[in-house]
């Protein structure tokens, strides 16, 4: 019977096709309209967790003193801080820039009333120490800074202090943030005076002067 219909009644076939497609559309519509909450809930749950990372630039590496000599391969011979400091007892009296000598001569130092051993670890000169004596590696220097500079650290953590690059929208890409010591020299943390760039040449600002 159906074969007969197919063969002899083309218009009927088209009618069937239209009917079938309408049914299909109706089903699709029903699916969409009956479960909107579910669909929306699913997409939100899928998208939310994909966040790119916020990377803080690494702090300083553990310092090495350049001895000025080269090895057989031509590479500079460096010495760890502890090379000298393990054989010399710390002298707490030498705590201003003028007092420093040998490798430390000429250090520009202006950081409040802190002395060398406020941050440098007398028990292990290849590390730093917190106020409570706990050891801190050089790359983790921000922990040390934030002991005193709490408000700066709070602002930093909320993105309102410290330069950054990358994405404001972490669902789209990562962000790279400066470390404290990228901008502030730990021995002289005040931001240096800089020469401004690019004075404007436009016409309005000429009148805005004075």
């Amino acid at each position: 019977m159906i074969r007969l219909l197919k063969r002899h009644f083309g218009p009927v076939r088209i009618g069937f096709a239209i009917l079938a497609s309408l049914c299909g559309l109706a089903v699709l519509w029903a699916q969409q309209s009956l479960s909107p909450g579910k669909v929306a809930g699913e997409t939100v749950a899928e998208e939310a967790p994909i966040l790119h990372s916020v990377t803080i630039k690494p702090g300083p590496t553990t310092p090495q003193l350049d001895t000025g000599r080269k090895d057989a391969q031509g590479a500079a011979i460096t010495a760890a801080c502890s090379t000298c400091h393990s054989t010399t007892a710390p002298n707490a009296a030498r705590n201003t820039a003028q007092d420093l000598f040998q490798a430390h001569r000429g250090l520009r130092y202006a950081h409040g009333n802190l002395t060398c051993l406020s941050c440098h670890n007398a028990k292990d000169y290849d590390t730093l120490h917190l106020a409570d004596g706990r050891k801190v590696a050089f790359p983790e220097v921000m922990t040390l800074c934030s002991q005193c500079h709490g408000t700066a650290m709070r602002d930093y953590q909320h993105g309102s202090h410290g330069g950054m690059n990358g994405y404001w929208d972490l669902t789209k890409g990562p962000r790279l943030r400066n470390n404290c010591v990228n901008c502030h020299d730990p021995h002289h943390p005040e931001f240096p005076l800089v020469r401004p760039v690019l004075p404007p040449h436009d016409r309005i600002s000429v009148h805005a002067e004075h």
């Binding site: 993105g159 690059n165 404001w168 789209k172 401004p196 760039v197 004075p199 805005a208």
Partner: protein, 346 residues
């Protein structure tokens, strides 16, 4: 231009005029001349008259052609820079997807032809549910103008004029009126008795620049950014006059940029190279920010004085600043509701 053909064509009539006084002519100046019988209108004088008329016609035609050419001259100059497609281009918001694609392709081609640079001109749309906001920490800003420089480079500004959407005012401590600030300081910064206030488009909620535009070439987008259709702008500069923050700039000249310095990442509504004679303004680098990236001025800031983000996101940095810092807006009394905030650290 006009005088030249005029003098040329006036010479013959001056020669012709004394024709009747020529020696050979019998009726020269004698009142009772018999040859007058031939009657002035028909033959003898009719010949002279027609010459005079045709000459006058000639002058008229020459003048007409000259005036016409002069009147059309600006149009020919225009067509040197303006293609017919550009002339007939619709308003940005009336363009269909296909038309927009054609426009972007044409602009890309023109940039190649005029500046010799391969660029990509996109048209990122406002992200759903996002409202952009900006905050600036005046306690940290040291006035280095790196932001203005970054803007200059990022947004393909005219090089000779040092154009930038950001002006950094050197302010006397205690003063809050940036109209009294100095933008031309050229000494190491920061000076101890000064602070520095960068000012750019404040992306007002109620932008007066949009209100005054006679051709609706500028409007506020869904994400809060006030944009300009550079191809629709007629360059009347009303918006520049209306902006209380001096945030709008005019392209007095066709921007000059070396091909190697052109930022190839461009968009229709932001940093594509603007034509001469149109207004431009800060768009919060929408070609970057609408794709999730930070604005160029923020990335250039060496002190981290700038905070950018989505005002609709309660966890964003900008919201933390608004909720925890004592923020203020410039010229609040005007009631324009800027989306750009300033604050000092405690």
């Amino acid at each position: 231009m006009i005088a030249f053909p005029f003098t040329q064509s006036t010479e013959p009539p001056l020669m012709n005029d004394p024709d009747p006084d020529k020696p050979g002519t019998p009726c020269s100046g004698h009142g009772a001349c018999a040859c007058g019988a031939s009657a002035p209108p028909p033959s003898g004088e009719s010949h002279g008259d027609s010459t005079r008329r045709s000459v006058l016609k000639g002058i008229g035609a020459t003048l007409g052609v000259a005036a016409y050419a002069k009147a059309l001259a600006p149009l020919t100059e225009l067509t040197q820079q303006t293609s017919m497609d550009e002339f007939l281009q619709k308003h940005y918001r009336e363009l269909t997807k296909e038309e927009l694609a054609t426009v972007l392709a044409r602009l890309t081609r023109e940039t190649k032809e005029q500046y010799g640079a391969e660029v990509t001109i996109s048209d990122p749309k406002p992200p759903e549910g996002v409202k952009f906001g900006y905050a600036l920490n005046l306690s940290i800003c040291n006035g280095c103008r790196k932001c203005a420089e970054a803007c200059h480079l990022e947004n393909n500004h005219d090089r000779p004029s040092h154009q930038s959407y950001i002006r950094v005012f050197e302010m006397t401590k205690g003063s809050m009126d940036f109209e009294k600030g100095n933008v031309h300081y050229d000494h190491p910064v920061p000076q101890p008795d000064k602070y520095y206030m960068p000012v750019q488009c404040q992306q007002c909620e109620l932008p007066p620049c949009v209100d005054v535009c006679p051709v609706e070439a500028t409007w506020k987008e869904r994400d809060g950014i006030v944009v300009v259709d550079y191809n629709w702008c007629i360059g009347c500069r009303y918006c520049e006059a209306a902006c209380p923050y001096h945030a709008r700039r005019f392209n007095w000249q066709k921007p000059e940029i070396a091909a190697a310095e052109i930022n190839p990442d461009q968009s229709y509504l932001s940093n594509r190279i603007r034509p001469q004679g149109v207004m431009e303004k800060c768009t919060f680098c929408l070609h970057r920010t609408r794709n999730g990236r930070l604005p160029a001025c923020l990335e250039a800031c060496p002190t981290g004085a700038r905070v950018f983000g989505d005002l609709n996101d309660p966890d964003s940095e900008i919201r933390w600043v608004l909720e925890n810092k004592r923020v203020f807006v410039l010229k609040e009394e005007l009631g324009l509701k800027p989306q750009f905030f300033y604050f000092f650290d405690e």
